[in-house]
């Protein structure tokens, strides 16, 4: 039996501890980010928005969460 309650992942370059087995949707909710307004890359692969709910994050994942900002 494993008693890993938290796992370490990297979000936008920052190390974070999150609950084991958290889905991507769950993570976004905990960060108060509206899923419809961001694009997520997980370990360099883009995650389709419709998979946000079914993706279970794993120890060591590297996430990039991006959105549009003002720019020329």
């Amino acid at each position: 039996m494993r008693f890993l309650i938290f796992m370490k992942i990297k979000i936008n370059g920052e190390e974070k501890q999150i609950a084991d087995g958290l889905s991507l949707n769950g993570l976004l909710e905990s960060l108060q980010i509206r899923p419809g307004q961001v694009v997520v890359e997980r370990n360099r692969d883009i995650v389709p928005r419709e998979s946000f709910g079914s993706i279970a994050l794993a120890e060591g994942d590297v996430l990039e969460i991006v959105h549009f900002v003002g720019g020329g």
Partner: protein, 257 residues
């Protein structure tokens, strides 16, 4: 007279493309864009601040149904990063048109031309509608057109410099040969600069700083709209040739003596 700006199969009324950076807030961004009459607006792709996720989102102020959102690759210094940024932008669901800029150096912000060509090849192959920012070099413009870019966007002057068109002769050569729209991108300082680009026959002008950093951005947005419109009309009207000596405007017959 109906005059449309056709880009990648879509017809636009406005030939002014505006950026959304450097405004004091989203309300000012929205207002300036409305007044500019622009239908295509550029945006950048950046990390969300996860420690303080801004509840306000740029797209809350710019309805993607009303505006064509043109994501850029600003801040990318190599082809891989630019391609990665475009793929992320496409996933946001605002279409497949991208403003490709691969920057070569942070002092001039001039493009890295070989890297721009490399990125354009990949992006065109992946189905993107690519609008590349380039130096005012006719050879590069031709190569990008051959690769399949939907337009070419030579700079007037360095980004944010406000110097206006530094090399009108190169822009003229690009215009003579291009079969895709030529959009002057970057370096415009004031309305006359935009008018000059349009008078030369450019299909459009793209700007950000000239409006956003003006003392009164809303008024400058209006001036830029009018500058672009005036320049376009002058181009269509066909200007008189430049001559060294005078030609009287009033009749020479019937002068009192």
């Amino acid at each position: 007279m109906e005059d449309f700006f056709e880009l990648a199969g879509t017809k636009y009324r406005s030939r002014l493309i505006v950026g959304t950076g450097k405004y004091k807030d989203f309300t000012e961004t929205k207002r300036a864009i409305e007044v500019s009459g622009a239908e295509i607006v550029t945006v950048a792709v950046r990390r969300v601040n996860i420690t303080d996720p801004n509840k306000e989102n740029l797209l809350d102020y710019l309805d993607p149904k009303r505006y064509t959102i043109l994501p850029n690759t600003a801040g990318c210094y190599n082809a891989d990063d630019a391609v990665r940024t475009c793929r992320l932008a496409r996933e946001a669901g605002v279409g497949k048109m991208v403003k490709l800029e691969v920057i070569g150096d942070d002092r001039t912000l001039f493009p890295d031309v070989p890297a721009t060509l490399d990125a354009a090849k990949i992006l065109v192959k992946e189905g993107f509608v690519v609008l590349p920012y380039i130096t005012d070099d006719p050879i590069t413009a031709q190569k990008l057109e051959d690769i399949g870019c939907a337009a070419v966007m030579p700079l007037a002057a360095p980004i944010g410099s406000g110097l206006g068109i530094r090399n009108p002769y190169n822009i003229r050569i690009i215009l003579e040969h291009a079969k895709v729209p030529v959009i002057v991108d970057a370096g415009v300082g004031t309305a006359s600069d935009a008018a000059v680009a349009m008078e030369m026959g450019c299909a459009g002008v793209l700007m950000n700083t000239a409006i956003a950093s003006a003392k009164d951005p809303i008024l400058m947005a209006e001036a830029m709209r009018q500058g672009v419109e005036a320049g376009r009309k002058a181009y269509l009207a066909g200007r008189i040739p430049k001559k060294l000596y005078a030609t009287a405007s009033s009749p020479l017959d019937g002068i009192l003596n």
